[in-house]
Amino acid sequence: MFGRIGRVEQRPCWRRRVVTGFIVAVLAIQVGFALNGYRDPHKFFAFQPFNESSTWRADIVRVTWDGERLPVEGGWAGYDWNELVDTAALQHPWRTRHAYMGVGATIDFLDQALDWIAANTPDDLDTRFLEATVTSFENTRGPTVTVVRSAERSLS
C-alpha cells in the first residue's frame, strides 16, 4: 500500500509518537462508530446507507385538554406540520412513505420531533400533547404498530 517515492526529513521521535497516536485514535473512533451502527437506529457515522427498504405512515393527532383527538394534517393554530419538521424524512407522514433512514431512525426522529413541536408552538393553547400512531412495514414484513407521544405541555 505504501512506497518510498521521495525523500522528506526524518521526524523527531516525539512527533512520530504524536502522529502514531493520532492515526490510532482516528481509526479507533471510525471503527467504534461502525460497530455502534449495529445498535444505534440512526447508524450515525456507521456508514450503513440504504440499509432497509421499509415503509411507514403515521396518524398524528393533537390531544387537547378537553380530550379531543385532532389530526395535525391541515395545520393548527397557524402551524403546519411539514414546515415545523422541515426534514424530508418526516414530511407528509399521513401518506405511506419510504423510510429511507430505516424504520427505527424514522420513529426515533418522529418521537423527538413531537417533543420539539410540543415545546415550540406557543400560539397553540389547546394541545396537551401530540401522539403518533405509526404503522410500518420492515422490508415488506409487517405491519408493526408503534405509538409515540410528546412530552406533556403545561397549561399556561
Binding site: M1, V8, A46, F50, L90, H98, N139, T140
Partner: protein, 376 residues
Amino acid sequence: MDPAIGAVQRTSWDDVLDWSGSVRAVAVMRMAMGLITLLHLRPFLRDAAHGVSYTDHFWHPFIPWLPELSDRAWSALLWIGAAAAVLTTIGLWTRLATLTMFTVVAGNLLLSTTHFRHNRAFLVIVLGGLALLPTGRVLSIDAWRRRRTSGSARSDVVALWPLGLLRVQVCLVYLASGFSKLIDPDWVGGLVLWDRVVRYRHVLEPTPIPGWAVDLLVERPLYYAIGPAAVLTELFIGIGLLVHRTRLLAVWVAVVFHLLIEVTASIEIFSLAAIAALAIWVTPSTRDRVVRAGGDGASSAAVIMLVRAGDWFGRFRVERGGPAEPALLVVDRDGTMSTGGAAVGLVLSRFPLTFAAAAPMRFLTRRRASMTEEPT
C-alpha cells in the same frame, strides 16, 4: 550509529510514517472538493440567505453540551465555509482554507442530528484528510505566488501519512457498508433492492427503458443475483483498493458503481465526492513516464497540447520528438516503449477524464495481444 543496525530496526510502521511522495493528484482532488463543498453548502446557504435558521425547524443536538449557535453566527459560519471552499479550489491560503472548510462542514453536521447523512460524513472524512496535507504546494495560487516572489517552487513531495490514513478511512467506509449488508439476509438475498425498484417502478416507466426491460427489472428472481453482486462489489472496492495488484480494477469498479448509484438514486454530493476521492489512489509520483510527440511540427504540437490538457495528475513528462519519430511514443515506468494504439491506450488510461472508458479497452487489447503472442 551503524546504518546497518538502523536498517534492521526499521519496522513497517516506520515505512508508513516516513512514506513520502507528490501531492499533485491530491491537489486535483482539493480543487474538486472545494466545488463539491460549495454544492453541499448550497441548501444551507439558501436558507441562511432567506433568514431561515436550523433552529426554526425541528432539530436535535448531536452533542447536548455543545452551545446552540445564534442565527447570525450560523449564517456567518456557512458563508465563511463557502469562502474557504472557493479559496480551496483556487489554492489561496490553501492550508488555512482547507482547515476552515473542514471545520465548517464538520461543525454544521454536528449541530443537529437532522443534518446527518452518510454522504456528508464521507465528505467530512475526505476534507479532514485534505486539511492534513499541504496540497497548496502545487496547482495553486500559493505555488504561483511563491514562484513569482522567490523564483523557486516548493517541492510537491511531502510526508504522506495523512494520505495513508485517508486511504484506510475510505476503505473502511466501503467495508462497513458492504459488511453490514453481507450479514443482513434481506440485503444479500436481494429483497431490499427488489422492493425498492418495485416501489420506484413509476419512475422507470416514463424513461426510454423499454417496457419489457422494466418488467424484467421488477422480477424478484433477478435480485437473488443482483443483491449479492451489489454487496460483493462494495466489499471488493474496499479490499481491492488496498491491494496494489487489484487497485486499478477497484478504482474502475468504483467509478462505475458510483455512476450507477447517481443514476438510480441521486444522493446529494455522494457520487461526486466519492469519484473525486478516488484521486487518493493515484501513485504519488509525477513525470515518471515519458511521452515523445514526433512527426511534423503541427501534429507534435497538437499531441503535446492534448497530453498537457488531459494529464491532470502530472503522470507524463512530455518531450518533442524529431520529424522521423512516431507521432506518439510512450516510455512506461519500467522502460517499456509503446507506439500507435498501445501508446494512445496507455496515455488515455492515465487521464482522469478518459480512464473509465480507456482502462478496460487497454486491458482487453493487451490481453488479446498477449494471447496471440503465446506459442501454440
